[in-house]
C-alpha cells in the first residue's frame, strides 16, 4: 500500500493552483487534508500525475458569519467548526452533524472542501450542504461560479467540479434562531460513515404549523438528497406524532437504498424511517 508515484506542488496562490490543475489535463488532483485522498492513493484506486497542495494558500480557512449566512472556507476543518462557539449558536444543525465526523486526529486535518469534493454518499458535510440549500463557490481558469449543492453532487464520489476547478467556499443560508431542527445518524461504530442519516428542519408559521420543511438524507442513495415528497407531507401540518409517522413512512418509500455488506435495502429503508421520526421528534423540543 505504498502510494503510486506523483509530482507535488504547493502553490502560494489560488491562481497558481488553478493553473496547475489546468496544466494537468485532468490528471492532477487537489490535496487538502488528505484524509480521504491519501487512503485512495494507498489502495492505488487513483493514479494522479500531480498533487496540488492548497495548504499554503491564504484565505481559504476562514469561518464568516454575517447577514448573508454562514461562509466556510474550503480548508476549514472539523475541529475548527467544533471550537467555534459562535458558529454552533449560528447554525446548530451544522454543529450537530459535525459531531459525528470521524475521529479526533482526523478532525484536525479533514476539511469542508475536501469532504464536499470527495462526495461520499454517506458523508455529513455534503448532507448538510444539500439539506440546507447550500451553495458552493468553485474557482477555475475562467473565474468563479456559484453552484447550488442540490446540483453539485451527481453520484457516488462524483461532482460537478471540473478537473481544473477547486472549491473555495461553501455558503449556508442564514439560520433563524426560532427554527426547529433535528439531526440523527446511525453508524455501526462511533465515527464510521453513516448507514443512514437525517438532517431535518422546519419553521413554524403563525398557526403553529410546519413550513419550509427540509428533510435531507445521507447514506440511503447515491448522493445526499432532500426528500421533497416527505417534506410535502409535513408542510402545512401541526408536527404531532401522526404527522411525524406519516412523514417517516413516505421517506422510507421514496428512497432506493443500496444493498451492501453493512445492511440490506429493506433494513436501510426502515432505519431511515426510524431516523426521520427521531429527528422530527427531537425537533419538536426547543433546543
Amino acid at each position: 500500500m505504498k502510494l503510486p508515484k506523483f509530482d507535488y506542488a504547493s502553490p502560494a496562490t489560488l491562481e497558481e493552483a488553478v493553473a496547475l490543475l489546468a496544466a494537468g489535463n485532468g490528471a492532477a488532483k487537489l490535496l487538502a487534508g488528505g484524509q480521504s485522498l491519501v487512503p485512495i492513493l494507498a489502495f492505488r484506486l487513483a493514479a494522479p500525475s500531480m498533487l496540488v497542495d492548497i495548504g499554503r494558500i491564504a484565505g481559504l480557512d476562514k469561518i464568516e458569519i454575517n447577514d448573508a449566512g454562514i461562509h466556510l472556507g474550503a480548508r476549514v476543518c472539523w475541529s475548527d467548526i467544533e471550537a467555534d462557539a459562535e458558529l454552533a449558536a449560528a447554525h446548530p444543525l451544522l454543529a450537530a452533524a459535525m459531531n459525528h465526523v470521524a475521529h479526533y486526529s482526523i478532525r484536525k486535518r479533514g476539511t469542508v472542501g475536501g469532504s464536499l469534493a470527495h462526495a461520499d454518499p454517506a458523508a455529513e458535510m455534503p448532507g448538510i450542504a444539500v439539506a440546507c440549500d447550500g451553495e458552493l463557490i468553485l474557482v477555475g481558469p475562467s473565474g468563479s461560479r456559484l453552484v447550488p449543492a442540490a446540483s453539485f453532487f451527481l453520484g457516488p464520489l462524483t461532482t460537478a467540479l471540473a478537473p481544473d476547478e477547486l472549491i473555495t467556499q461553501v455558503h449556508l443560508p442564514p439560520w433563524p434562531p426560532t427554527r426547529r431542527w433535528g439531526f440523527q445518524e446511525f453508524a455501526r461504530r462511533r465515527g464510521d460513515f453513516a448507514l443512514a442519516g437525517v438532517a431535518a428542519f422546519y419553521d413554524l408559521d403563525s398557526s403553529g404549523r410546519a413550513t419550509n420543511t427540509h428533510i435531507g438524507v445521507i447514506g440511503v442513495s447515491d448522493r445526499p438528497k432532500r426528500l421533497a415528497a416527505a417534506e410535502a407531507i409535513l408542510d402545512g401540518h401541526v408536527v404531532d406524532a401522526d404527522a411525524i409517522t406519516a412523514t417517516a413512512e413516505i421517506a422510507a418509500k421514496v428512497v432506493d437504498p443500496p444493498n451492501d455488506i453493512h445492511g440490506t435495502s429493506r433494513y436501510r429503508r426502515a432505519l431511515l424511517a426510524t431516523l426521520v421520526e427521531r429527528a422530527l421528534a427531537s425537533a419538536c423540543i426547543e433546543h
Binding site: M1, K5, R189, I261, H262, G263, T274, R278
Partner: protein, 757 residues
Amino acid sequence: MKSVNTYVGQPIERVEDLRLLRGRGQFVDDLHFDGMLHAAILRSSVPHGRLLRVDTTAATALAGVVTVVTAAEVGNPVPTIPLRLAPMAGLIPYEQPVIATGKVRYVGEPIAVVIAESAAIAEDALELITLEIEALPPCVDTRTAAANRSLLFEEMGTNLAATYTAVLGDAASAFVAATTDEFRVCRERFDTQRHTATTMETRGLIGVWDDKTQHLTVYGAAKVPFASRGILARQIGLPESSIDLIEGDVGGGFGMRGEFYPEDFLIPFAARHVNRPVKWIEDRREHLLACNHAREFDCDLELLCKRDGTILAIRGQINGNIGAYIRANATIAPRNVALCLSGPYRIPNIYIESTMLVTNKTPTGTYRGPGRFEGDFFRERLFDIAAKDLGIDPVVFRRHNLLTKDELPSKLPVLTPVPQQEELDCGDYLQTLDRCLAEFDWSGKVKLNGRLIDGRYHGIGIGCFIEGGAVGPRENARMVVEGDGSVSVYVGSAIVGQGLETVCAQIAADALEMPMEQIRIFHGSTTYVQEGFGSFASRSTVMGGSAIIATAEKLKETIRTAAALRLNCAAEDIVLQPGLAISPDGNAVRWPDLAPEHLQAAGTFSSTRRTYGYGAHAAHVSVDPGTGRVEVLDYVAVGDVGRIVNPMTLKGQIVGAIVQGLGSTFLEHLVYDQEGQLLTGSFADYLLPTASDYPNIRVYDQEEYPSSNNPLGAKGAGEGGIVPVGGVIANAIASALGVQPRSLPMSPSRVWELINC
C-alpha cells in the same frame, strides 16, 4: 518452588513495558540491514483458475527491480506446506504450494515475488506482471463445495478433504429409544461467520543469507519458531543447524501469526537467491487476504432430552469452510468444534461429524479458542432453545446438566482420525456458574427479560465453558549464571505480546529465590535452546513456566555441588542467597566465581495431559428495535484458571479476549461475494471493536482448583475469555426480543431482520 512466593501471584508490572512504552520495541519492520532489498508479492485476483502464464519481463525491466521470483525459480517440484498439527496422509494432496503453480485457488494466492530496492518500487512492479489465467467456476460455500461440481483438486475427486467423528456412548441408540412423550428432540441449524485474529502488527519477515557460512537467518518468527525452522529446512534443502529463526517483539498473535505460510519460504528463499537481505512487510490489505482466516462453520444439530431437561444425547454434522488449502494448523478448529462441543456438560451420548471442505477462499487456521467459540455458540443456543421448548428456566437447565466436581475427571468424546481422547481434569463448574449469577445479579435482572424500557428491549443471557490448554509434549529451558551474578533464562516458549517475559521472570525469580531484576528472559528464537515448542493453545505459562521450574531446581543443585567442593562441606548444607552460596561455617562464594566457565543447567517439562480452565459468562443487553443496535449494558466473566501467576496480566488477557469475542459477535466479518472476491478488504469494511463499543465488562478470576498436571498448578488462560461470548450474547438477544438468532454476526441489519421477518 519455595513455599512462600514473592512474585508468583503478584500483579508485577511488566519488564517488556519499559521498551514498548518508549517506542523502543524491536518489531520486524524496525530492523534494518545494509544492502537490504524489499519484496512485494503478486497475489491472484482470480479465485479459481488454471495458471497458464506468468510474464515478468516488464516488471524485471523496471528501474530498481532486482528480480522476480515465480514457481519457475523455486524449482520443480514446488515445496508444499506440511501440516504441523494432527497431520494425515489423506490431507497431503490439499497442502498449499509455497507459490502458485498450475492452478490458483483463492484470491490472494501468491503468484510472484518482486525483489526491488524499495517496497514502493516493488509494488509498482506488481502492476507490470501479466498473467494468463483460465478462470474456473469458484465455490465459496460448503454446500456448493460438497456438491463437487467444481473441484479444487481434480485428482482428489472431492472437495471433502476430511471428516472427523467425535463419539461418546451410543447416540444412535439413544435417539432410536426416544419414542415417547417422555423425550424431546430439539433440532437446529446454526452458523458462525468467517473472521480472523487481525493483529495490529501485520506479518513481516527479513531473510538474511550468509554465503560464506551458508547460514540462513530469518527475522520475524513467532509462536512456533522451531517447528517453522524444521519445515523451512526441508523445503529449502538446508540442515536445521544452518537456519536460525529469530523472534523479536511481536504485535499480537492470537493463533494466527507464526504458523508456516508461503512467505515463510518465499522470503528466505529470495534472500538466498539474490544473496542480499530481503525484507517483506505485509500491508493491511494483504493481511486481510493472506493471513489465516477462521471460524466459518455451519451445523445441523439435534439435542435429545428428557422432559425434565436431562440431556441424553447430541448428534449432528458440522461443516467447516476451510478455504483453498489445508494449512499448517487448519485441522485444529474442525477437530475442536466436535471434540469440545459438550463443554462442561454431562452429555452421555455424542455423535458429531465434522467435515473439512475446501473452497475458493483464503485458507483457514486457528484463531483464539479455535473451534470452541463456534461450538459454544452452537451449544449454548441449542440449550436455550431446548430449555424454552421444555418450559425450563435456562439457568436451571444448565445447573441440571453441568458435570459436578465429583464426576471429574470426565472423558470427552473420542475424536478420530488421528485419535484424540481428552479428559476434563478438575474443577467445580457449578461454583463458577453460581458466582457468575451472583456477581451479575441474575435474579435481580431476570425480570427485565423482554421488557421495553425507554424504547429498548432488555434481555439477559448465560453460558458455561471450558478452556483447553497446556498442550504438550514438552518445553525446554536453559539457565546461565552471568558474570555479575544475574541469571539468564532461555526458554522455548514464544512471545506474542502476552506478557510472557514477565510471567517467566516471576516464576524464575521465585524458583531461584532471587530478585526479578537479576533475571533476564530470552524467548522464542532457535538460537536459545536446542528444541522449543512455542506458544499456542494457552500453553506457555504452564509448559514454559514448568520448564523454568525444573531448570531452576537443576541449577540450584549444580550451584550447591560446586559450592560444596569449594567450601568443603556437604551440598545439602549449602544455603543459597541471591548470587551467593554460603557454607554452615559462614564462608561464602559468589556464584560466578564457582567455575571458570558460566555455570548452567538445562531442564525440560513434559506433559501430555491438558488442563481445563472453566467458568461462566453472563450478559445484559438492550436492543433498539428501530435500528437493530445492541448495547451491552453489563458483561460478567467468571473463570477459574487453577493458579494465578500474575493477576494483572491474566485479567488483561481475559478482557482483551472478551472484547475480541464481542467483535466476533457483532462486527467482524470477512465477506465474500459469490464470485469468490473478498469484499471486506480494509478496515473501513472489516470492523474491529473500538474503545467506545464495549466498556461495561467485569472480570472475576479465581484459582480454586489447581491443575495436578504441573508444578505451578496453572491451567492455560489465554483463550477462555473469548469462548462463550457468542452464545451468551445471542442468548441475551433472544431473551430480549423473543426471536432465535442462529447466525453470527449480530449486526444491526441482521438483528432488525430477525425482528421483522
